[in-house]
């Protein structure tokens, strides 16, 4: 198992280097730069040129890349062109809301998605199954920002149950914290659970057709025992894969969710950095998110190996 893990970790290194290259290229291919944004609407060509030189954005692209590689390799994750703060400090300031949403949304997605998928498979071709499938289809098809605004207008504006914007830290006010994350987590939970419903249902339906399930039923085991003792364990492997995707989906989903609900988290930091062409922040954050993605995939692989020993062979 240790050898397997080392192999997987080493395999992640070229992936991160590739991501770094692509990130840098994409950020610099995108038109517009921070000098234009910084200068403001009334600034003319001379102002922009001056600011571009001040920010070092007029240097050759190759030189900028080498400087970035050097900084990244030495652990200097760059400073924001605008606020001057280090990306590490900015992430620390904003990680609390993002973690709260990711964990809350993830838990909600699992709590909704897996039971609904299990019930849909168990009661396949019944009205329950149809409802679950419609829910899953809508969850996948409806854009997150649209659903977010619907939730916002219904629960915040019309019924005034939850706040429309903002985040309250758990350390300041526990009640306020739950109220502030309720709608964003619900949005992440609904969109995240859709794929879980489909995957769980499909995986279990396949397992239900296996010989050992038929044998279990034939020897007189009750449906509950068949489901929980035999089917679920065997059907878990594809679900674990989807859970890995879910974490990645939640990480990308928070960009939209945090913008809609005005949550000052890492997702909004990404969105703002892209809008402002704050290159150092965009590059560093994308590298960070890519690293998380790689780590999650690594964990999924390890979980695979744990659940299914054949993978280690």
């Amino acid at each position: 198992m240790t050898g397997y893990i080392i192999k997987r970790v080493l395999a992640a290194i070229p992936i991160l280097i590739f991501v770094g290259l692509v990130t840098f290229s994409l950020v610099h291919i995108a038109p517009g730069d921070a000098a234009n944004i910084m200068a403001g609407d009334y600034a003319g060509p001379d102002d922009v040129k001056k600011i571009r030189a001040e920010l070092g954005l007029d240097k050759p692209i190759g030189q900028q890349f080498l400087e970035w590689v050097k900084r990244t390799a030495t652990g200097d994750l760059c400073h924001s062109i605008f606020s001057g703060q280090s990306v590490g400090k900015l992430v620390r300031q904003r990680i609390n809301p993002t973690l709260s949403l990711t964990i809350g949304g993830g838990i909600l997605a699992v709590l909704i998605g897996i039971p609904l998928g299990v019930v849909a498979a168990w009661k396949s071709n019944t009205i329950v199954d149809r409802v679950a499938q419609v829910f899953a289809a809508l969850g996948l098809a409806v854009p997150g920002f649209w659903l977010g605004f619907i939730l916002l207008w219904a629960f915040a504006v019309n019924w005034r149950i939850f706040p429309a914007i903002g985040f309250v830290s758990m350390f300041d006010d526990v009640g306020g914290f739950f109220r502030s994350i309720a709608l964003p987590c619900l949005l992440l939970g609904i969109t995240g659970s859709a794929v879980l419903v489909r995957m769980t249902r499909a995986s279990l339906l396949e397992v239900f057709r296996e010989d050992y399930i038929r044998t279990a039923r034939a020897k007189g085991l009750g449906e509950r025992a068949v489901l929980f003792r035999h089917a679920l364990r065997a059907g878990a492997i594809p679900i674990i894969t989807v859970l890995g995707f879910l974490v990645a989906g939640l990480l990308t989903g928070v960009v939209v969710t945090e913008t809609v609900f005005t949550i000052p988290g890492v997702g909004r930091l990404v969105a703002e950095a892209v809008q402002q062409r704050d290159f150092p922040i965009v590059q560093s954050l994308l590298m960070l998110l890519a690293s998380i993605y790689v780590v999650v995939n690594l964990l999924v692989d390890i979980a695979y190996a744990y659940v299914d020993p054949r993978v280690r062979l």
Binding site: G40, P45, E54, L90, P163, R268, R277
Partner: protein, 581 residues
């Protein structure tokens, strides 16, 4: 001598008001203002009950007419001073604060909180006349030496007492950064502190520009800051926002909010409050500038009361918000923006003046304004070079044969005469900004109708800002300008040779000469005559195709009293309070 300029300026304001009154025959001037020797509060209000839905404010120089609806919450009856204090105010910002140093950016996200925190040496009053703010008195000797004395006992938020040295260094930091400041420095021999609270500005030749430079709005702000800020080059930008204003920065959470609270050591000006000048009172305990990037979320937050003020209401939401209980919506006609099509003067077909004239005379400008802003209550046609409603923006001289004439036949003739018929014109359309993308469609139609092929490039604003740096990538893009940019030709880079993206060339040199004369003019009459001459050049040269003026819209909780905005400046959060029920 100290009052000489002051008197001239006030007289000029009166003349401008008279011109304006004559130009706006339909406007009801409901109050007359008597000019006395000292600056006085000149804004007067008349409330008229009228069965319409919105509060509409129209500033006509020294007169404010407020049409008040039956449904809107009326201005509160005078409350006892002590009852106004307390509470929090939440102001929405549509984007993150790019920097805490307004010497580093002209962007509004930084200048909005700066408006509450920092102050100028002089500040404009309601009539855009510079009044003393941190300065106590000034005088002019020999027409060339301006001597200023600061008010005594003023301290910055970090406890540093304000001295002449701080004032001089802050102002020079600004002048070095700002285009207008650069122009002023061309007239200045030296700026020297002469005592703890006194300093001199010695000019190379007579000019009143130095006063305008101390009160400058639009562009970079000439804020007076302590050494902790001015010792850091503006290009680098200080990471704190310190000043002498009625509010001080309490907390800044990048990407989330900036909170200011009352500065107990504030020493207000003894003059009555008028626009940016005069007495300022911080009634709120705390003001939060909350960054809410999405407009739907801003509207939702305003409706639920989490946000008190938002300074730009999209047309789609206007009707809905005006029916919302507890929310007041305004069309602010003294805070307009000049809309237009900016054309590449140095490359392609528009290099030829005749083609620029052809484009302008064929243009149905009201179509462009309607496409961008909808109903005509949100915009006005304006045949003036400067924004209508400002002191130099109320005469049509020179526009008659070009502006909104929709003369396609004549335009075709000019295009043919220029020999560019059938040429391809590149029109940029930033699809993320409908106020510019929609007029781009009108421009396309106009250009095709006068004999061009159009290469219509749908893109986004960030891309457009990048492309406009390369003249070969575009011929027409759409943008706007407001505030001092639209009120004073000296501050309008689009009218200055080679200064803005349109790269106006001023082949005849008459516009540049006008700028030069305007910079040296010392009376309001002279200035008006010069601007009129410059306007003739404007309509002849067509540096850009001017459509007209769009009005800013704003919405706020109805219990917020006296928060106002004008001339492109942010909403004031000082002299504003929450009506208690």
């Amino acid at each position: 001598m100290g009052l000489r300029w002051h008197k001239i300026a006030l007289t000029g304001g009166l003349v401008a008001a008279a011109v304006l009154a004559a130009a706006c025959g339909g406007e009801k001037i409901v109050e007359r203002t008597v000019i006395v020797e000292k600056p006085v509060e000149v804004v007067k209000e008349k409330v008229v009950e009228k069965p319409v839905e919105v509060v509409k404010e129209k500033v006509v120089e020294k007169t404010v007419v407020v049409v008040q609806t039956a449904t809107a919450v009326p201005t509160a009856a005078p409350a006892p001073e002590s009852a106004k204090f307390g509470g929090k105010l939440n102001v929405a910002l549509s984007a993150g604060i790019s920097t805490l140093d307004v010497g580093r950016t002209t962007g509004t996200t930084a200048s909005t909180p700066s408006y509450a925190v920092q102050e100028f040496l002089l500040a404009y009053d309601q009539n855009l006349i510079a009044q003393p703010l941190l300065v106590d008195t000034w005088s002019l000797q020999d027409g060339k030496k301006w001597s200023f004395k600061l008010r005594d006992g003023i301290k910055f938020h970090d406890g540093t007492p304000l001295t002449a040295e701080h004032a001089v260094k802050s102002w020079l930091r600004w002048a070095d950064r700002d285009n207008f400041g650069n122009t002023i420095l061309g007239f200045v021999d030296k700026v020297t502190p002469t005592g703890d609270l006194t300093f001199d500005v010695t000019m190379l030749e007579p000019s009143a520009l130095v006063l305008e430079g101390m009160a400058r709005i639009g562009g970079y702000y000439p804020v007076i800051i302590p050494p902790k800020m001015y010792n850091i080059p503006a290009a680098t930008g200080a990471d704190v926002m310190l000043g002498t204003g009625p509010y001080k920065v309490k907390q800044y959470l990048p990407g989330d909010r900036l909170t200011v609270d009352r500065y107990d050591g504030y020493k207000p000006s003894p003059l009555p409050a008028s626009f940016m000048s005069g007495k300022k009172v911080a009634y709120f305990d705390e003001v939060n500038y909350v960054i809410v990037p999405d407009q739907n979320s801003r509207i939702a937050a305003l409706k639920t009361g989490q946000i008190d003020i938002l300074d730009s209401v999209p047309g789609d939401f206007y009707k809905d918000l005006s029916k919302t209980a507890g929310v007041t919506v305004q069309i602010i006609t003294n805070n307009s923006n000049r809309q237009g099509a900016w054309i590449d003067n140095i490359d392609g077909v528009f290099k030829d003046k005749r083609v620029r004239q052809a484009f302008a005379m064929a243009y149905p400008v009201e179509d462009a304004l309607r496409a961008a802003f909808g109903d005509s209550q949100f915009w006005t046609l304006c045949p003036s070079m400067m924004l209508c409603g400002t002191k130099w923006g109320n005469f049509p001289d020179g526009s008659q044969s070009v502006y909104n004439t929709k003369n396609i036949a004549k335009a075709k003739e000019l295009v043919k005469a220029a020999g560019v018929e059938g040429a391809t014109v590149i029109v940029l359309s930033p699809e993320d900004l409908p106020v510019y993308a929609n007029p781009a469609l009108i421009s396309r139609k106009v250009l095709e109708s006068i004999g061009f092929k159009v290469d219509f490039k749908a893109t986004d604003w960030a891309t457009q800002t990048n492309w406009r740096e390369k003249p070969e990538l575009w011929d027409v893009f759409h943008t706007s300008g407001g505030g001092a940019w639209g009120a004073n030709p000296l501050l309008n880079s689009s009218l200055t040779k080679n200064k803005y993206w349109n790269k106006y060339q001023d082949e005849s040199g008459r516009m540049t000469a006008g700028m030069d004369k305007l910079a040296r003019a010392t009376s309001a009459e002279q200035q008006l005559a010069i601007v009129k001459e410059m306007q003739l050049v404007f309509w002849e040269d067509i540096p850009y195709v001017s459509f007209g003026d769009s009005f800013n819209t704003a919405a706020y909780r109805s219990d917020v009293v006296n928060s106002r905005t004008a001339y492109g400046m942010p909403f004031n959060v000082f002299n504003t309070w929450r009506e208690k029920k």
